[in-house]
Symmetry: C2
Subunit: 314 residues, 2 copies
């Protein structure tokens, strides 16, 4: 198959850190244009909006959207209506319903929609899923603690409504959990901690249940300095599995298993190419549904204000 | 078909106001038992829990659950696993995911699950849906204002996490809107007003969009004394439709249309009987999904504390 001509929309941190390097290595896609309000990509055509880009370059067959979720739906709907294949960064939207609408639009226009969960392409995830099959799972403990100032420097959108706060990384954990467990889970209780000056939580404690009394507990915290933790521990009747470093490392009863190299975004673009070739979409909303459930059912606590750059001590 | 032997779980206000009178008139169901922590129903077998009821009376083929949503999942899951048909009051659960799990359980046990939306059975709803078909819709305005002290006296659960606050009535409006509109809508913005001593909102302003730029605006308020309002106005290229009194009255360009009598819960039990006879389930989560979206995307405002019985003035 000839490479699919692609336009990238939203040239921010995640585009530069992940999408551009992966696309430069991809044989499936030919990145020919970018659209961004404030930034550009050297060596390709640049536009200030997706609409301008698609109008000027009708040869673009697919777009990949990397801007914050609050702005994603309109651009995605416009591209799908023009018959373009669309790949969405996580989370796929600011609401569940808008992504459902996009899925319907993709189907009615005969194009592929791919709602990505990059953490599912971490090298330990599929081996973990395979190892858990057929074992009796007792308890799952998720610890996802990182420093928002390091990973999202100055990104105020993350604490705006729809920005998800600590669920922006936490949804990565949920995307892995919902992939590796062989049964569905549902939230039974949550406490969400909001800085008093912010609209999205900075920390969350979640409890889920599974169909045979399995317990899933998750702690998300955006205030972690020093050691960062992205761990999922699964206790079973046949030993304990641990995914560390967001799925990059896998341990069984403390013994590390050999894994392939990290290639999350390479995996996403390979999957997007497969979906386009097969004429299919992939839109699994379960991670975002669990987050929406946490906002719906969560008890709210308020904590001290959060600012990205606290004033220096006098 | 012989009447289906039914057990009713949760004997509170909605059971007495609606379920018991409708069941007494239903030829489809034979109410033979009730389960409730604090109350009973004269003339039938009474139990303090659903589990005791189902263990003692295996002839019960179906259960109808009327307790608050926070407690519904466990009872429903247990009944479905025992091969009982289950009808759920609205909202069908405290989270979306737990209801998805119930739907899977109903399918795997070959029984019917019916997630009810009683307002969809208001007499004006199907005529409104029919009238809107083929008309171009421009704008929908929903006004749902009622006095929580009158309709939910002392029901503190409604302001607990999972109780939905003003979305408890508001979800009725959303259940009608999602039934009468011929296209999907999605939330684009919301402001939720929380009493500073409560975990669920007492008022909400919502904005939704439709696929051709249609605007849907909704105002929910639980603090309305005096005149109560449950109106949905739909402006189209062929006139203006208004559903009033929660769907009990229908007007086109100000002229009232004749409708059948109010029979919401009679309609629900008739539909439940149809589903059981056909071996089908009906679980449309879209109203609850819109509420979850509102909690997810909504901007939060805080207002004065709310108490059900304010102390008398000195």
């Amino acid at each position: 198959m000839a490479p699919v001509k692609l336009g990238l929309v939203g040239i921010g941190k995640i585009a530069r850190d992940q999408h551009l390097p992966s696309l430069s290595r991809s044989a499936d896609f030919d990145l020919i244009a970018a659209a961004s309000r404030n930034a550009g990509v050297d060596g390709i055509a640049n536009f200030s909006s997706s609409g301008e880009m698609l109008a000027a370059m009708p040869e673009i067959a697919a777009v990949s959207l990397c801007m914050p979720p609050q702005a994603r739906h309109q651009v995605a709907a416009e591209a799908l209506a023009m018959g373009k294949h669309v790949m969405l960064e996580k989370p796929p939207g600011a609401t569940l319903s808008e992504v459902e609408q996009l899925a319907g639009l993709a189907a009615s226009n005969g194009v592929s929609l791919f709602a990505t969960w990059h953490s599912r392409h971490a090298p330990g995830v599929e081996p973990a899923r395979d190892w858990l099959k057929g074992r009796r799972i007792r308890k799952v403990t998720v610890t996802w603690k990182e420093d928002v100032r390091h990973w999202h420097p100055g990104q105020d959108w993350i604490f705006e409504p729809g920005g998800l706060g600590v669920f922006d990384p936490g949804i990565n954990a949920l995307s892995i959990v919902t992939r590796i467990l062989p049964f569905p889970i549902w939230l039974t209780g949550a406490e969400l901690t909001f800085p008093e000056n912010r609209q999205a939580p900075i920390a969350a404690d979640l409890a889920f249940a599974g169909p045979s009394g399995e317990a899933v507990e998750a702690v998300f915290d955006f205030r972690q300095t020093g050691l960062q933790t992205w761990d999922i521990v699964v206790e079973t009747d046949g030993g304990t599995l641990k995914l560390s470093m967001g799925g990059a490392k896998l341990f069984v009863d403390g013994e590390e298993r050999g894994l392939g190299p990290e290639a999350e975004y390479g995996g996403l673009y390979a999957r997007f190419a497969e979906l386009i070739a097969a004429g299919q979409s992939e839109v699994d909303l379960s991670p975002l549904r669990h987050v929406a459930d946490a906002f719906l059912l969560g008890r709210r606590a308020v904590t001290e204000p959060f600012v990205f750059d606290p004033p220096a001590a006098p």
